[in-house]
Symmetry: D2
Subunit: 361 residues, 4 copies
């Protein structure tokens, strides 16, 4: 008998659900109309005081069985949903968010090289430009494997003001000269908006480092020029913050942003940072921007470079970044993680062996 009663009560629930649905939809339509008027009037849509008043009214009217806290929580959800609807209609925004499964941003370089399409691209080179010979010998090696994107870093953000801060403009001149010799593109870190005009003469792709990921002045400024931008995830940035940082650039007018996952800082010290490989996959799901894996700053060590590279490719990322130096132990920065030339070739061999893998085609 009690089972029958349950059936009966469930029927009542079903009816109430439909009535709730109807009321919620009706409410959404009214809110939507208010939103349109507010847009015309140029009034901020979000009105916390009005919300506070509605909650107080509901609280006073509530006679249970739900406690007031629950009623307020439920209505806050309803308010939020209405708000979201309104915002969505008003702006259809977050430009970096993927809107369909096959939407993708492809960065196309002058010679047709693409980043963000099917080919797994390699960005490589030393941590910093140190001399012509260093850049030239490295680029020669990279060119043998078809690498098109050369690190030409002339400004190094360092923890201590007394550490090597990069060669500056002379370093950019070297990088440009070498890149031209081997038909490569220069990626180079910019640290301040004031550098844009000068650096634009040398650089093909701007690079914004982890420490500047939320430097909104720089993000806005770089969004107003037209060269592609590589944006690194901050050391403790959430994926949401990372995507919003890219949004600063894209909303400024420059759609060519590449996201680099480079590991976050955790308690574990066996690797320099902890590569968020699952996060890189989520980025690919949620955004249409190309995603590149930095296997050097994440690992911070050379001895796992081959499996790291394999993992980067297997993850579905659009490319990887790896530091290569003619003589890593004497490098002026990141000496522990830069690859020797022969290690670089071993990494490339491992990646090529994966091309037989049909699932990646």
């Amino acid at each position: 008998m009690s089972k029958e009663r349950v059936q009966e009560l469930r029927g009542q629930i079903d009816t109430i659900n439909m009535q709730l649905l109807e009321l919620l939809s009706q409410r959404a339509r009214v809110v939507s109309e208010i939103g349109k008027i507010h847009t015309q009037l140029g009034v901020e849509h979000y009105d916390p005081q009005r919300e506070a008043e509605m909650l107080t009214t509901l609280e006073m009217a509530n006679q249970g069985p739900f406690p007031n806290e629950t009623i307020k929580a439920l209505f806050r959800e309803i308010f939020r949903a209405s708000m979201a609807l309104e915002e969505q209609q008003a702006k259809a925004k977050i430009k970096v968010q993927r809107t369909s499964p096959d939407q993708k941003t492809i960065i196309t370089m002058p010679d047709g090289t693409e980043l963000g399409n099917s080919h797994f691209q390699i960005i490589a080179g030393p941590c910093a430009v140190e001399s012509f010979e260093q850049m030239d010998s490295t680029a020669a090696e990279l060119a043998k494997r078809g690498v098109k994107f050369l690190r030409g870093m002339a400004y190094k953000p360092r923890t201590s003001p007394y550490e090597f801060q990069g060669m500056g403009e002379p370093g950019l001149q070297i990088a440009r000269q070498v890149a031209d010799k081997y038909g490569m593109y220069i990626v180079s870190e910019i640290m301040d908006a004031s550098q844009i005009p000068m650096m634009s003469d040398y650089v093909d792709i701007f690079w914004i480092g982890a420490r500047n990921m939320q430097n909104s002045f720089l993000l806005r400024a770089i969004g107003k020029q037209s060269k592609p931008v590589i944006l690194k995830r901050g050391l403790a940035a959430t994926l949401e913050e990372f995507m919003y940082a890219a949004e600063y650039i894209v909303s400024g007018g420059n759609p060519n942003v590449i996201l680099i996952e480079r590991g976050i800082r955790t308690y574990e010290k066996s690797t320099r940072n902890m590569l968020d490989i699952g996060g890189a996959m989520v980025l690919k799901l949620e955004s249409h921007l190309p995603v590149v894996i930095d296997i050097s700053h994440s690992a911070g060590r050379r001895d796992i470079a081959i499996p790291m590279a394999r993992v980067a490719k297997a993850s579905g990322a659009d490319g990887m970044m790896v530091e290569v130096h003619p003589n890593p132990p004497v490098a002026m920065s990141d000496a522990k993680q830069q690859l020797y030339f022969e290690q670089f070739h071993a990494v490339m061999d491992a990646l090529e062996a994966m091309d037989a893998d049909k699932a990646l085609a």
Copy 2:
């Protein structure tokens, strides 16, 4: 004119809000009746399949403007609220949760010493029992300052199996003898349920370490005996998990649980762990159990012991735990953080100076 229209629309919203409130309350009453029948029938209240069906029905009926995802999200909140209501009525549970601002669990020892009431209690002693002399000299020093709770640790959970694992039962005998001599109570770590009968002969308060915070077999077993239990927060436990771990003990029948905040593991290595002092305050807000601050394992260093102790007291905690050793550099464990006797006295002097502080009265 559009402002008047907004007023009019807001009136409609107010009406819809009241109708929603009425429907939600009605829904809650029906769900509640179903819940009672299910309790009688011994049927699990949560029925995900029924929920899935209701969501599908709503999705099919939904004609906007809310997208299906939003409708499902809102109804999931409504389901959850009803469920919570039911559970609350059925169990009035989470026993460790504070239900009124002045509810507090006070641990009263045989001589009337209280932990969890107005007096800021000190739990002190060496990291581990090493010898009678070591315990005796330490307890003598602690007794001078009225310390009532003596660390008498005879089982040490260690990272490596080759490290000192504690003296075992002979250590407990020493601890008991010394405690009796100075009129103190022994707190001692238990590592396995099988130790309860033997340890009960020596120990006044059981201690469950950070590594065992979620060892539910041990938690349940300790909940079935009557001595008070000190429970340490795990190295990466959330406050919610910490409180649920206490709930395992309390729901087993033993209400006398003391929570120890001892810092969590983060990337920062200047202190051994990062004391979550704000978390300790939140614990005091959310639970009626006594909260004690471990200033030794959080700092992991002696040179900030005085401000750490001051902070522990200022935070509103019920006490603090500090390691004291006659000769810290030769201690068999935690050599860097145990205090010399003179440092212990300096810490106690600093705490006494705070007693003039009227706000702590």
Copy 3:
């Protein structure tokens, strides 16, 4: 001229270096002899008081130019090196540490199935045993892809004491029956040493969960029985702690330990935990034990299962663990991360496509 002086001074440095080397070696030989005597006498090798005295003597003798702090730091390094030498000679220990590049522990099951050798093994099944039908239908599906290791979890460690805690022994009976039907092996979580005799009747491989990774009583007990053991990394465990936890088991006599990397807890919430894929590679470098990647508890979501599986395989791990359930949304635990059957097959297809990859052969 000053360049010549530098050359001359460098010659002096070279001579001093050789003298230092000779003295350090001589010192090591003497320490080694003391160590042997101490071993015979059964005396603890490490004597902090003696060290403290030596440091004081050196401090008093030091006349610069090094400050006392530097002298003490250098000698502490020398003491530590001597100590390490002694320990190494005395025990030749840490059994789980790899001693040669090709050393590997291979777990061989009765039918010859190997874990830790060239084949990438799959451990799969529902989060928990819920019914015979659930286990049977899942195992049937897994068997189609040659899976040999079936999750047969009957004891679930849960955050709340009010959540489903597993079916207990009846669940083990179901698991055994189903495993036998499909020629599979049961892996099942053990939570307390007292369960060993009973569980041994049903289980092929014991599983120790993240919450118990440092439950040294359980580790020791499981080290004294002979079935293989899967050990999960704790939520905030370092790789070093993880390897030491395995050492507790291996040093007890059971060499058949499998390490599972399952992600650590971080601030980032887009995945349930953060898979430490670089850490898994370091484990493979440093230990000879098999390493398995848990793609379910790390991701905590189904929609990135394919790239996660690919990454697990590409990383060089010995296998992966994945949760599969006939109807995930109604699962009694981990509903969000268990795969539908069709998703499981897609994952297996992706892994098979990688077999064409010559580098993994």
Copy 4:
């Protein structure tokens, strides 16, 4: 007899120790002379190639019992110590490091108000300038309690480009007007070096936010002007990185830097960030700069403001920062953490009650 042999061997160790000390000191003197010549020649002191050669020579000469790895590690320590000695002599640097226990930087404002001396200073005000009325009513309330430092934030670094970014220069005008009315000083966030000239007209103390802590361009630029600077610790910055960021400013010529500890990002979400109260103590030990505790961004909630303030004061910090707003729920940012006026007064009452505490005098 073996005990006597140990005594004899220990005598040999003591002799070797003295010989090692003599050789190390001699080596340091030679290195020091080379260093002076290199300084004259303008040659970089650190020469990794020379080091590599010395290590190779030692490795070839080594005949045990130390393994080559140990010898190399020990000599690397010796090289590093020599290097450190040289650097120390050459630069006597890290200016922000405390060199004596009572060294302290005191920021003195025009009216004699001091920050960094005995008085616990309060920096307060709304998260952002929103209107004249909002600033005026808040400042009036703060003035009643003698607050001298007013938040006058007109540029807000926000996660999303679509959130309120501050009023800009009009906001600074309001802040200046209100500060002058109540005899207060304005602290205001600067986001880019280009803002220095304009902001200097309005602002008394520059504020560099957590997101810009390692924006070395901004740090250098702010180091070249003379107004005091408040520097916030980055979300995942180590104390070492924090101090080096301050060093960028101080080494540029501006010694008046105030460090703000504001909590780091962890997995725990019961507070917005985790206040590193132990870290603040370590900063006070290691640096002579004033340290201020931000109780608003660390807690991210109002209900623990009183114990947080008490803890800030008890920790030995030089002051605290707290957000106060006339109507927090309608604030345009940080609505959850800003205090109501009455809460602010309750906090001040609690702090005043602590003044009776003799230990803080």
